[in-house]
């Protein structure tokens, strides 16, 4: 019984403190007399105190931080609505490994393709000479190979990976979507095509990377282990690998710099880029705009689950 007594006494003490602070701070203001505002302030202070009590461990503090951030975001951009998890942690990690390795590979590879370009010598000097540059290129290559293996295992072993892979397979709908999108750009179609989880643009990106990785890793490994390759194949086989490596590098770089950068950075909807690659979340506003079919699916699943819960009860 002393416990409740204790709490009541504490509450009373707090209330008194709030009262005195209020009359101190807002002396003469008509607002302080308003009981409604007084009540509001009192409630707010109580909330704060409760929160302070809640935060005990570091993990709790982090969770609290996240909650506050979310609240702030909602206040600032309430039009965005709820956040949906679009990419899981594993997928984001793969993307990071890939883009770091590709940046390294482009920075160390392109000077070899354009040795006469004025900046090439400086880019090579950045790594401390051509030998270091080739070493960094192999580090990047190792990362890309790791990414490829990781992604294949992810596709096979992970439930999300299997689902995404199936959704990424090109379908007749993608051709219809592309045609409708172009007519929409030209003002001939009234509406944008309704995309599922992956639009034809994202599917193209995915398969372009797949094709690029296969060509680049295949030809790159031949050039890396030229001694072993030449044990079994004639020299012109390596020449072909060299040509493929060089040309596909150009295609991939152009596709990344022009196409991918436009779609995720320079596109007026996205400029200067979103943090989706970091937190993997998509706002309600954006998912409705970009992936309406997926949004509907999520909602349907949710209402089904809710209904199931109700039935279960």
């Amino acid at each position: 019984m002393s416990n409740t007594e204790n709490r009541e006494r504490k509450e009373k003490l707090v209330n008194e403190e709030i009262e005195s602070a209020l009359s101190e701070e807002m002396k003469g203001s008509a607002l302080t007399e308003d009981p409604e505002i007084r009540e509001k302030i009192r409630r707010r202070v109580h909330e704060e105190i409760e929160r302070e009590i809640r935060i005990r461990t570091a993990a709790e503090r982090r969770a609290e931080e996240r909650r506050r951030r979310e609240e702030r975001r909602k206040e600032r951009r309430h039009e965005e609505g709820e956040m949906f998890q679009r990419f899981n942690r594993n997928f984001r990690f793969q993307h990071m490994v890939m883009f770091i390795s590709v940046i390294l590979l482009i920075l160390t590879g392109m000077p070899l393709k354009f040795p006469e370009f004025v900046l090439s010598r400086y880019v090579v000097a950045l790594w401390g000479g051509i030998h270091n540059s080739t070493l960094v290129h192999r580090i990047g290559a190792g990362m890309l190979i790791y990414f490829m293996v990781h992604h294949m295992l992810y596709t096979v072993l992970s439930r999300d990976g299997r689902r995404d892979f199936i959704l990424l397979i090109p379908m007749p709908k993608d051709i219809r979507d592309a045609a409708q999108n172009i007519r929409y750009f030209l003002g001939k179609a009234p509406e944008k095509p309704r995309f599922g989880r992956f639009s034809y643009i994202e599917k193209f990106d995915y398969w372009a990377v797949y094709w690029g990785c296969v060509i680049m890793i295949g030809s790159g490994l031949c050039l890396w282990f030229e001694g072993i390759v030449l044990k079994f194949f004639p020299k012109y086989f390596l020449d072909v690998a060299h040509e493929m490596h060089s040309d596909e590098a150009m295609l991939a770089t152009l596709a990344i710099v022009i196409w991918h950068f436009y779609n995720v950075h320079f596109n007026p909807d996205r400029f200067p880029g979103t943090l989706m690659w970091w937190h993997g979340q998509i706002s309600e506003h954006e998912i409705k705009e970009e992936h309406p079919l997926e949004y509907e699916e999520i909602l349907a699943k949710r209402s089904k689950a809710d209904a199931g819960e109700v039935v279960h009860r």
Partner: protein, 354 residues
């Protein structure tokens, strides 16, 4: 007696050669005195190592050479009495050969490069075998390098260098460049064509024209020129294909270990690839490549070495390049068109058009 002669000479110098230059008459007097001894056919000295130094020299020794008008003491100026007691020192050519000289020597400082060169620094370190000017250019019969009989003329310079670099001379003599020089082909390089004239350095010295990273540039001075190579039916784009290959690119970025022209074709023993003794003859390619790529086998020789993907002769490489060219153009055109259509649509909607 000698005193009076000197006094007379001194008086003559003061009276006749007011400007301090010896006159023609005086020169002849000096020459006459020298040939009292040096004009004897048997005048020679046996050195400690048994070699014989011929000391025969007459007024005809300089005839026809660039120093025709000079006299003995113009170069052997440390001889101040006759007969000289000590052996005169070796002639120092820079006494006259410098820019701004008043002796009528060519106005050039080119020979100063010699002092920093491999030969000049060897002399400075006290190497008695290292060559001075006269070791290459000759003693009394010095001719201009362009004159055919000169010891440093293109046809003879290899022989001159070969006096010391005998093994290299033997290699060079039978190489394609050596054969071409012997045939009198003006474009073919002798030693100095690649190594330079006075500025000869060790190939390990970064200043050298044949330093690892300079070899490609040095060879390309001739081998890149269509007008020179066209005369001999040699492809001039070998330089360009090398520069575009990984070897060439790494070489351009300063790699000292990557293959340059000489790594595969050899240095002094360069031969056409059809020659069975050539390092780039298909039979020898595995061994040549094997210097850097351990375990090289005959597969290394299957396919053209200097591949140009833009040429139809390259076969499968050409078609690969062609495929990727159109793939890249096609893909990028489609993607860029899509981007522009997207932007066009956005602009329409921003303007409020339907």
């Amino acid at each position: 007696m000698r005193g009076t002669v000197w006094a007379a000479g001194l008086a003559a110098a003061l009276v006749l050669g007011g400007q301090g230059f010896p006159t023609q008459a005086e020169a002849r007097i000096s020459l006459e005195k020298c040939v009292i001894c040096h004009g004897k056919g048997e005048f020679r000295k046996i050195l400690v190592d048994g070699k014989i130094r011929d000391l025969f020299a007459t007024g005809d020794s300089l005839k026809g050479s660039v120093h025709e008008k000079k006299t003995c003491v113009d170069c052997h100026f440390d001889v101040s009495e006759i007969p000289h007691r000590a052996r005169p020192r070796r002639v120092n050519c820079t006494h006259c050969h410098y820019k701004g000289n008043a002796e009528g020597a060519p106005q050039s400082d080119a020979s100063l490069d010699y002092f920093g060169s491999a030969h000049g620094t060897a002399i400075a370190r006290g190497n008695p075998k290292a060559p001075l000017c006269q070791d290459c250019h000759g003693n009394h019969q010095i001719l201009k390098a362009k004159q055919e009989g000169s010891s440093v003329a293109k046809g003879r310079v290899a022989e001159t260098c070969g006096r010391c670099h005998i093994e290299i001379y033997a290699e060079f003599k039978t190489s394609i460049h050596g054969v071409a020089v012997a045939r009198g082909i003006a474009e073919a390089p002798a030693c100095t064509g690649c190594h330079g004239e006075h500025r000869i350095y060790s190939h390990l010295d970064p200043k050298s024209t044949v330093y690892a990273t300079h070899v490609a540039a040095q060879c390309s001075t001739c081998h890149e020129s269509v007008s020179i190579m066209g005369k001999f039916g040699i492809e001039a784009d070998q330089v360009a294909t090398y520069r575009n290959s990984f070897h060439g690119v790494a070489d351009r970025f300063g790699s000292k270990t990557v293959a340059n022209c000489a790594s595969c074709h050899g240095t002094h023993d360069i031969r056409p690839s059809s020659d069975p003794m050539s390092k780039v003859n298909p039979k020898n390619v595995p061994r040549t490549c094997g210097k850097c790529h351990p375990g090289a086998n005959p597969n290394f020789a299957l396919g053209k070495m200097h591949v140009d993907a833009r040429k139809k002769e390259s076969g499968i490489v050409y078609y690969t390049a062609l495929f990727f060219k159109y793939l890249t153009i096609g893909t990028m055109l489609a993607l860029i068109l899509h981007i522009f259509l997207d932007m066009y649509g956005r602009t329409r909607r921003l303007r409020g058009e339907k």
